[in-house]
Amino acid sequence: MPVELVLRDRKFQVSAGQTIRQALENLDIIPETVLPVRKGKLVAEDEILKEGESIRLVAVISGGCGDRPR
C-alpha cells in the first residue's frame, strides 16, 4: 500500500520503505520548507515511511508582508 503525503490541499502517493527526506526530494519538495507530522507528532525526516500511513507536511515558509527592502 502506498503512503500518502498531505501538503495543504495537495496529496501525493509515494512508496513505503524510503525516508521522508528521500520522498520529498523525489517530489521536488525542498525538505527545509516542511515539517513532517505523523499521527499528530512531529517526526524527523530520516524516518522510514510505513505501508499505508498518511504523513501531514506542515508548510513552514511565510512572508511577503511589507514586500520591499528593509
Binding site: 512531529l42 524527523a44 530520516d46 515558509i61 511577503g64 508582508c65 527592502p69
Partner: protein
C-alpha cells in the same frame, strides 16, 4: 536519528548545527538559545518592558511564548489591518492572538487601522498610488509607523518582532542583488533608538531558521494562523526564500553563514559611511514628529492624508 542530549528519538535535525533533538529538549533549547542571543547582541535586560508585535502567526506567538517563559515583562501589540481575502484573515489572526493572551493572562494591545485612520489597508491601498495593485507597501509602512508610535506612547523600552533568519536572509539577498547600500546599512538584529523618535527594535529570533520556529510552535501546542496573508501570493521575498532553501538543502548552513558574514562585514565598517549618511539626512515629520528622510510630511502622514481626502471626495 537520536536526540544528542538524551538518546531518545529526535524530532528535528538541524543540519546547519549538526544537532538533532527530541521534542522535550528542543522545547528547552529554543529559550536557552534565545536568551543567549538577547545577551550576545545586547537586546534588552531583565528589567526592560518589551512590546512584542504579534500577528497570530507562528513566529510572533512563539517569540511571545519564549519571552514569557524566560521571565521577561512582555506584552503584545496586534494591529488590525482589515484584510479579509475571503477567509476573514485579519479577524482570525486577531482571534488567535486574543486566545493566546487570555490563556496565559497576558496583556494584548489592539489597534484597528480602519478605526484610527479611517480605512482598512486594502481600501487605503486602492486609493493611493503607493498601493496600486498590491497593498503590501502601504501595509508594511503602516505597521512600522504604528508599532513605533505605540512602543513610545505606551512607554515600552523596546519593540520585539518575530523575524527569523529566513526573513532576514531573504531581505539581505534582495538588498544585495540590487546593492541597496542604504538598506543594507540599516539591516540588523538590533535597531537602536534615535532622539528623532525611533523606538529601539530587536529581533530575538533572528538566528533561528523558520523551520525551527514552526517546530517550536507545534511542539508547544501554540494555535497559530496557518494560512498566509492572501496578499502574499507571488511576493518577491517568497521567491528569494525558495532559492535560498534550495541552496541550504545542498549546503547546510548556507543561509546562516550568509547572514553572519554580513553582520561581521558590517561590524568591520563595510557600510559605516552609509549608516552615518542616513542619520544626518533625517528630519522630524511636521505632522506626527516621526523621522523622515525629506523635510515636511513623512510617507505615512502623506499617504493617509491622501486616503482620507479621496475617501471624502464624491465619487
Amino acid at each position: 536519528m537520536k536526540c544528542r542530549k538524551c538518546g531518545e528519538r529526535a524530532v528535528l535535525n538541524m543540519r546547519q548545527h549538526k544537532l538533532a533533538l527530541c521534542a522535550d529538549h528542543f522545547a528547552t533549547w529554543v529559550p536557552e538559545q534565545t536568551q543567549r542571543f538577547i545577551e550576545k547582541y545586547k537586546m534588552f535586560g531583565p528589567d526592560d518592558r518589551i512590546l512584542v508585535a504579534v500577528s497570530g502567526g507562528k513566529d510572533s506567538l512563539a517569540l511571545w511564548d519564549v519571552l514569557v517563559r524566560l521571565g521577561y515583562h512582555a506584552d503584545g501589540l496586534y494591529l488590525g489591518l482589515g484584510i479579509d481575502g475571503g477567509t476573514g484573515y485579519s479577524a482570525e489572526s486577531f482571534q488567535r492572538c486574543q486566545a493566546f493572551a487570555e490563556s496565559r493572562s497576558l496583556v494584548l494591545h489592539h489597534v484597528d487601522v480602519a478605526e484610527t485612520e479611517g480605512a482598512s489597508i486594502p481600501v487605503a491601498s486602492s486609493l493611493t498610488h503607493r498601493g496600486r495593485g498590491k497593498p503590501c507597501s502601504v501595509c508594511g509602512m503602516t505597521k512600522r509607523h504604528i508599532m513605533n508610535q505605540k512602543t513610545r506612547e505606551l512607554g515600552y523600552d523596546v519593540l520585539a518582532t518575530g523575524h527569523n533568519l529566513d526573513d532576514e536572509v531573504a531581505v539581505l539577498f534582495g538588498n544585495t542583488l540590487t546593492w541597496s547600500v542604504g538598506y543594507l546599512a540599516r539591516q540588523g538584529p538590533v535597531l537602536e533608538a534615535s532622539t528623532l523618535g525611533l523606538a529601539r527594535k530587536v529581533k530575538p529570533f533572528f538566528r533561528f531558521y523558520e523551520r525551527e520556529t514552526a517546530a517550536y510552535a507545534l511542539i508547544r501546542g501554540i494555535d497559530y494562523i496557518y494560512d498566509e496573508c492572501p496578499h502574499s501570493v507571488g511576493a518577491t521575498s517568497l521567491a528569494y526564500k525558495d532559492v535560498l532553501n534550495r541552496m541550504e538543502s545542498e549546503r547546510p548552513g548556507a543561509k546562516l553563514s550568509f547572514y553572519l558574514s554580513f553582520l561581521q562585514a558590517k561590524e568591520g565598517g563595510l557600510f559605516r559611511q552609509e549608516s552615518e549618511a542616513v542619520v544626518e539626512l533625517l528630519h522630524a515629520c511636521t505632522s506626527c514628529g516621526q523621522p523622515t528622510t525629506a523635510p515636511g510630511l513623512c510617507a505615512y502622514c502623506r499617504t493617509w492624508e491622501q486616503v482620507r481626502a479621496r475617501s471624502a471626495a464624491p465619487a
